[in-house]
Symmetry: C2
Subunit: 219 residues, 2 copies
DNA sequence: ATTTTGTCTTTGACGACTCAAAGAGATTAT
DNA sequence: ATAATCTCTTTGAGTCGTCAAAGACAAAAT
């Protein structure tokens, strides 16, 4: 069994493996995991020797099928736990990421099955991130329609929040731009970099980079 | 913060500290934690230097107030988690000890409070073990009335199971001698070491040492 | 009073994870 | 083409938790 450290490494690699050439730079991992580059090199070599990933020195790292399967299981646990904490324990959706970060390593498959059943087999977590099924081997990516790119004046629904940092989630909470909310871009100004949106009973103003972190879907 | 290893050591010491002279032999800890005696000596010295316990070489170990407080918090988490797994996730009460052994180290106080509230602030776990309150500093011991010592032919209620091993819990499950069950000792024979009990719709036969692991209370 | 036995401690070593600092490779700028 | 910069790797070291094996102590047996 992988240690929780290894599980965190696997997850960090998985969520950064975009597309076919799923190669992740070790520097990005050092950044993401809050350790020094040298630590990443060491860990990555040991994980490679265990068959969890391949390491091209000075190039990056790619999960093996085994590594990807393990990583998917961790992501699944993380997101089901988050959903459980919000849905059943009624916790604040801003807090649950941190809690899930620890619980994802302590919950057995037996317990996870119960949680999944009680929640009615949800397909997305509170942030709108898709919950991998028990045997899926692919991680769905965002389709790219966000408040920064969607057609103006047309109605959309918030689908997914692509930034889990407390400060951003706090903003989302405050404005009500949570997954499920109806929203319409009133005005988008590339010159000033400002996006203005209408919600049901309110409006929200945000910058373009921030708007790009809110995935939406036509309703 | 203590590591989960240190938490397990603290808990093992606490549940073995009986009475005033709460000194626990290091050998008993080695046995309980499944490590070699030398490992215990090493860990115990480091925990002593952190102020969690006092170590009299070749005598034993005693928790400091700080160590006891931490240990109580771990026991509280363990028992609340067990209760939650049975009550809310409807897991088999034979399985939950193992699950709680891991979860007790991963659950934050925030989550624990929610669990406690949802359960309605229970005072005992599925095995009948008392759940320490948030600030209690004493671990209640069994009062000593068991199926091995209670008066015969009088009605009692099962209060607590003092052996958490899977094989014993399996027996308890099979006979229905779970906490809450009504029971009456029909016949106790010191010569053969056999105790015969009546339950609601059945009867159970067990040895004296086993009977001593089932705490009961007059109804 | 010795010896034996059982329990505990010490010592040396190892795997997992980490850092700081120095070194090597590759990319970009001049 | 050379230098500067950026990124990654290597090296040496430290902490934590563990073991095996050897040593010390104390209680019990002779
Ligand atoms: Mn984690
Ligand atoms: Mn999430
Ligand atoms: Mn534990
Ligand atoms: Mn219990």
């Amino acid at each position: 069994m992988p240690t929780s450290t290894v599980e965190n490494y696997l997850k960090a690699i998985l969520v950064r493996s975009t597309g076919d050439e799923a190669v992740v730079a070790t520097g990005a991992l050092a950044e993401a995991l809050g350790v020094t580059p040298g630590t990443i090199t060491t860990m990555v070599k040991s994980m490679a020797s265990r068959g969890l990933l391949e390491h091209q020195p000075r190039e990056g790292v790619r999960l093996t099928p085994e590594g990807r399967t393990l990583a998917m299981a961790v992501v699944r646990k993380h997101r089901l736990v988050e959903t459980f904490l919000v849905q059943v324990l009624h916790m604040d959706w801003k807090e649950v990421h941190e809690e899930a970060e620890a619980l994802e390593h302590a919950i057995s498959d037996r317990v996870l099955l119960r949680i999944d059943a009680i929640l009615g087999y949800p397909v997305a977590d509170p942030h709108g991130d898709p919950i991998p099924s028990r045997k899926s081997h692919l991680l769905e990516r965002g389709k790219g329609v966000t408040l920064a790119t969607c057609e103006a004046l047309k109605p959309f629904r918030v689908e997914r929040i692509l930034d889990q940092s407390p400060v951003f989630l706090e903003f989302i909470q405050r404005t009500g731009l949570k997954p499920g909310a109806r929203v319409r871009v009133r005005d988008r100004d590339p010159a000033s970099g400002v996006v203005r949106c209408d919600l049901k009973d309110s409006e929200a103003t945000l910058g373009l980079p921030e708007a790009a972190k809110i995935e939406v879907k036509a309703v």
